[in-house]
């Protein structure tokens, strides 16, 4: 081994360090340590002349190790590594001692600080001795992007990327894209019609040359890592010939079998062969195999659609023998935009959802006011009457320790939207039961003000129950909403014909599966975790996987779209760079020491190590693009075969021993 020659540089940082540490003494002390050939103190090491000191000494003294004692390495380690590199030294032959944040700024006794600084410098010197040059590796980025979920978030992200002429695979689980937004009638606060603004975007997705839409499909498997993911998608059988179907809908008209429509939130029926809604993209019918009597009877009964389809898109063959297809994709990055579920209010029995006909959820009411919806846009009770009074209950399942602690962010606003629509369509009185009105967005507070002027009644209080047990004549035949009006401090009973529950937005029921598929993390509330809540809100701990929209937590459409564009920008910047720098300080296996026990394979969250048979001997191998260098594997490795570069036992242990070394 070549002789180790260490250069030590102690920074004054003006008076930030020198004020409470005798830096000259420290530098003198460092010069006495083994293998140190030059030791200096300097006013500002990070300045150009400071860095030049290092670069010149590397040449003059043939240094092969450098230690700088200054501020936090989180601030200037990259600076000095860079200086080493420019001086011709591998950047990993560098060690940093934090004597400002961890010493001069937090302790005041100059003598003690000077001693502590010596300890820190000595430990850095001992550690740097064991450093090894590491290769900085790069890997190419596949320019294709996978977007999962075709709600407004997924649609926006896909279009942004495709408009940059990069290929996008958009995978949507349902027969059509659109997500929750296409179910909405009008959108607050501008009240523009949701369909009118969304369908053009959906159509763009449908015929964009750079988007390959895989609707009625789900991702089954993801392997690989940033820059080179391999994805398996299951394209479910629609039981029709997609190339022939023109979406005329004659089959749907003729099909005699029905179930409640999920799209219409159960307020209308759909057939066994169906297009979920008129503007569906792709405009294709889908056969529900569980409901289709032809399929269930193995071709013995019904078959109406086969007879009526002029395009010959439905045949006994498609109905009986069509199977799912597995499509394999290669992409460089992934955007997850799987959205949310509406909270099921029937778990709060006091609100009578599922028990009383005229207790509705927000999404049901959206369908009701929609001109193309089940009531043709009329606000009607189950018996066809128009309501005389409507109660809107906020925070159902939100801001409630028993269900979800968080605020769902959109309910106040859509509650107000409903008040306006009810006023517009009916003569009914409207009562809004709220805890706090949260109108934070652009034009939201103004919208609230407008509604107050329109004559909606605002009652501040959490509703205790909704009941049909009348106590007065006036209450008979109505639902009674019981609450405390906290502003008046009085228990009130409000008779209403219709009650709308502003149900919370919650994480998808299958969020755990999706999380493990894409190696995402979930917060305690179930939504996907961003890499940094403020500074990196669309990235995730898994490199190359981004999140956008309500899968990350409840939010309105403007925020969803902004996030989707942000995620698209992240993906595009990755593509534009074309390559990624791999982490150098990662795990590696000393094959002669490995006993192939697989402990490393078991513990690694990123699936980087795999035990394989090499010449009949079981040994572990680390996939370097997956490894993040967290070091967990090395802790469980019983033999010491698994080593984390730059954090090898001798590197850490020599530092530890030196810190406590009694002089």
């Amino acid at each position: 081994m070549e002789e180790v020659k260490i250069g030590v540089y102690v920074c004054h940082c003006g008076l930030n360090i020198a004020g409470t540490v005798d830096v000259e003494e420290v530098a003198k002390y460092a010069a006495t340590l083994p293998s140190v050939v030059v030791s200096r103190d300097y006013r500002y090491m990070c300045s150009d002349p400071g860095q030049d000191l290092i670069k010149n000494d590397i040449k003059e003294y043939v240094l092969n190790r450098v230690v700088v004692a200054s501020c936090s390495p989180r601030m200037h380690e990259p600076t000095f590594r860079n200086a080493c590199q420019e001086g011709g030294l591998n950047p990993y032959l560098y060690e940093h001692a934090n004597i400002r944040e961890h010493c001069s700024w937090v302790h005041d006794d100059k003598k003690i600080n000077t001693e502590k600084t010596k300890d820190l410098v000595r430990a850095a010197v001992k550690r740097v001795y064991h450093h090894e040059p590491l290769e900085v590796k790069e890997a190419p980025v596949n320019p294709n992007v996978l977007v999962v979920g075709g709600g407004i978030a997924g649609i926006q992200a896909a279009l942004d990327i495709a408009n940059g002429e990069k290929r996008v695979y958009l995978v949507e689980r349902e027969p059509s894209i659109g997500g929750h937004m296409i179910q909405l009638d009008r959108t607050f606060p501008t009240l523009d019609c949701s369909e009118c603004i969304l369908t053009p975007k959906m159509a763009d997705v449908g015929h964009h040359p750079f988007i390959e839409l895989l609707a009625y499909s789900e991702v089954e498997e993801v392997s690989g890592s940033i820059g080179q993911f391999k994805v398996k998608v299951r394209k479910k059988a629609r039981h029709i010939d997609e190339s022939k179907c023109v979406g005329c809908g004659i089959c749907e008209e003729k099909c005699p079998w029905k179930v409640p429509s999920a799209f219409e939130m159960g307020l209308a029926m759909r057939k066994a062969i169906y297009i979920p809604f008129a503007q569906a993209i792709p405009n294709l019918v889908t056969v529900d195999p569980d409901l289709c009597v032809y399929i269930q009877s193995n071709g013995k009964k019904c078959g109406a659609c086969i007879k009526f389809c002029e395009a010959k898109a439905i045949t006994p063959e498609t109905l009986l023998n069509q199977t799912d297809q597995i499509i394999e994709l290669e992409v460089g990055s992934i955007i997850v935009a799987t959205g949310y579920d509406q909270f099921d209010p029937s778990v709060i029995p006091q609100y009578g959802y599922g028990k009383y006909d005229n207790v509705l959820t927000g999404l049901q009411f959206e369908r009701m006011t929609c001109a193309a919806g089940p009531t043709g846009g009329k606000v009607l009770l189950k018996d066809g009457r128009e309501p005389e009074s409507v109660a809107i209950i906020h925070c159902v399942g939100s801001r409630d320790q028993n269900y979800h602690e968080y605020c769902s962010r959109v309910c106040c606003m859509y509650g107000l939207k409903y008040a306006h629509l009810i006023k517009e369509f009916t003569k009914a009185d409207v009562y809004e039961f709220y805890i706090d009105m949260r109108c934070f967005g652009e034009g939201y507070e103004e919208f609230y003000k407008r509604l107050s002027e329109e004559g909606a009644n605002f009652i501040r209080g959490k509703v205790a129950k909704v009941t049909d047990q009348a106590v007065t004549e006036e209450e008979k035949g109505k639902l009674i909403v019981v609450a405390e009006d906290t502003l008046l401090g009085r228990l009130i009973r409000v008779p209403a014909d219709m009650v709308i529950l502003c149900a919370a937005l919650e994480a998808r029921a299958d969020a755990d599966k999706v999380a493990s598929l894409f190696t995402l993390n979930r917060r305690a509330d179930g939504f996907f975790l961003e890499r940094h809540v403020k500074l990196d809100p669309v990235a995730t701990p898994t490199d190359g996987v981004f999140i956008a929209g309500c899968c990350e937590g409840p939010r309105d459409i403007p925020d969803t779209v902004a996030q989707a564009s942000a995620a698209a920008a992240k993906a595009l910047s990755l593509i534009s760079k074309g390559k990624i720098t791999l982490e150098s300080a990662i795990a590696s296996v000393d094959e002669t020491r490995c006993i192939g026990c697989g402990r490393c394979e078991e513990i690694c969250t990123f699936h980087a190590p795999k035990v394989i048979s090499k010449n009949g001997v079981m040994v572990s191998e680390v996939n370097e693009t997956l490894c993040k260098g967290c070091g967990a594997c090395a802790v469980v490795c019983s033999t010491g075969a698994m080593l984390i570069r730059h954090y090898k036992p001798e590197q850490i242990l020599s530092q530890v021993a030196a810190l406590t070394e009694v002089l």
């Binding site: 020491r593 006993i595 697989g598 079981m618």
Partner: protein, 382 residues
């Protein structure tokens, strides 16, 4: 002691360079870079650096396979032990298994005054011990091994508990000492004589002060250390004995009665009990005295027995694993249901070889493992 002295003491100068050692050595069979013959040759050529700075110096299992067959009676394992002292002095050490925690624990045990909590397991059950007994049961590092080997899983205290149970049913209520320390076996064989001496002195003092006349061991390494190594460093005025010897003795003197245990078993001779101390019969006698036990021998047994593949928790590597796989396959080939051994460390290393958490699997080496005392405890238990 320098290299020259070591050569003298271990009769290395007699070496004929016949290569018998290297051809028998279990390590050399798998690790092409390890050869006892070359090591000896280098010593004779005075190439001290080739020995001291050679990581393979720490690969030797000190299993004594080579020594027993050496035509010149070179005590190679002792040569290794002494050469490691030189290496240690030069700041060298082997590759520690378990990150070196076991070495560290032994080192910390060599620092006084500790208030160890090493006997908490005793509180659990109705074992009978006595502070005034003239027999002591040496527990060694078992209480430390438990948390270290949790994931294997290996419960060393099971063996301690069974030993106590067995002693109790022989009418012995032994002393179990709360201030015992590691016997120092690994430290000694790794060349850390400093730590070894401290531990030996402490244990000798503790034993002397307790006034016991006999110390019983269930670990052959502790036993060997007390029997063969302590006398070179400390004065120990008491008898030492492995529990299998005690049992064999009682079989003869008292005709112990065991309940039937139906099982086909094979037996692993621990190197320390077997080749180091020549105790092959005692454990076999005990096994055969248990009605229902059918003992079948492995291809290599007694003197020829193959080491469990790891020693002193150092240089446990892919070669060590291959030795263990070979041995376990041999055990399986006998058709036995259970592999009996009388060394907690053999059992640990074998169990560890069976840890197979990866998706892809190696050869099938799963076999039930049990210490002799656990088997005896079962057959004595009502």
């Amino acid at each position: 002691m320098n290299l020259e002295d070591i050569i003298q003491e271990t009769k290395t100068y007699y070496c004929l360079e016949c290569g018998k050692c290297s051809s028998l050595c279990p390590i050399s069979r798998y690790d092409p870079q390890y050869s006892p013959r070359v090591m000896v040759e280098n010593a004779l050529l005075g190439l001290e650096d080739e020995i001291v700075y050679n990581k393979k110096l720490f690969s030797c299992l000190t299993c004594y396979t080579c020594q027993l067959k050496c035509p010149s009676d070179v005590d190679y394992p002792l040569f290794i032990q002494k050469a490691r002292v030189l290496a240690t002095a030069a700041g060298q050490h082997g590759d520690y298994a378990h990150s070196g925690t076991l070495q560290s624990i032994a080192m910390l045990m060599a620092r006084s005054p500790l208030k160890q909590n090493r006997l908490e397991w005793l509180k659990k059950d109705g074992y009978r011990t006595s502070e005034k007994s003239d027999v002591m049961l040496f527990i060694g590092c078992s209480p430390y091994f438990e948390p270290v080997f949790e994931d294997i899983p290996m419960r060393t205290l099971n063996i301690a508990e069974a030993s106590l149970k067995v002693l109790n049913s022989l009418g012995i209520e032994p002393l179990v000492h709360p201030d015992e320390r590691c016997c120092g076996h690994d430290a000694l064989w790794m060349g850390d004589v400093e730590t070894f001496k401290k531990l030996a002195e402490h244990n000798a003092t503790v034993i002397k002060e307790s006034g016991v006349k006999k110390v019983i061991f269930f670990c052959p390494e502790c036993y060997r250390t007390f029997k063969l190594d302590y006398p070179n460093y400390v004065k120990l005025d008491c008898e030492v004995m492995h529990i299998s010897e005690l049992l064999a003795q009682r079989l003869e003197t008292e005709g112990l009665r065991f309940n039937e245990v139906k099982r086909k078993v094979t037996y692993q001779d621990p190197c320390r009990l077997g080749r180091h101390l020549g105790i092959y019969d005692a454990p076999r006698k005990v096994l055969q005295a248990i009605p229902g036990i059918e003992l079948v021998e492995m291809e290599h047994n007694r003197e020829e027995s193959i080491c469990c593949g790891t020693s002193c928790f150092t240089n446990c590597d892919s070669y060590s694993k291959q030795i263990r796989v070979e041995r376990l396959l041999e055990a399986k080939a006998t058709g036995a249901e259970t592999l009996i051994t009388s060394c907690p460390k053999c059992q640990t290393h074998f169990r560890c070889a069976m840890v197979n958490k990866g998706e892809e699997k190696g050869p099938d080496i799963e076999i039930e493992l049990m210490d002799l005392v656990n088997l005896v405890a079962t057959s004595l238990g009502g």
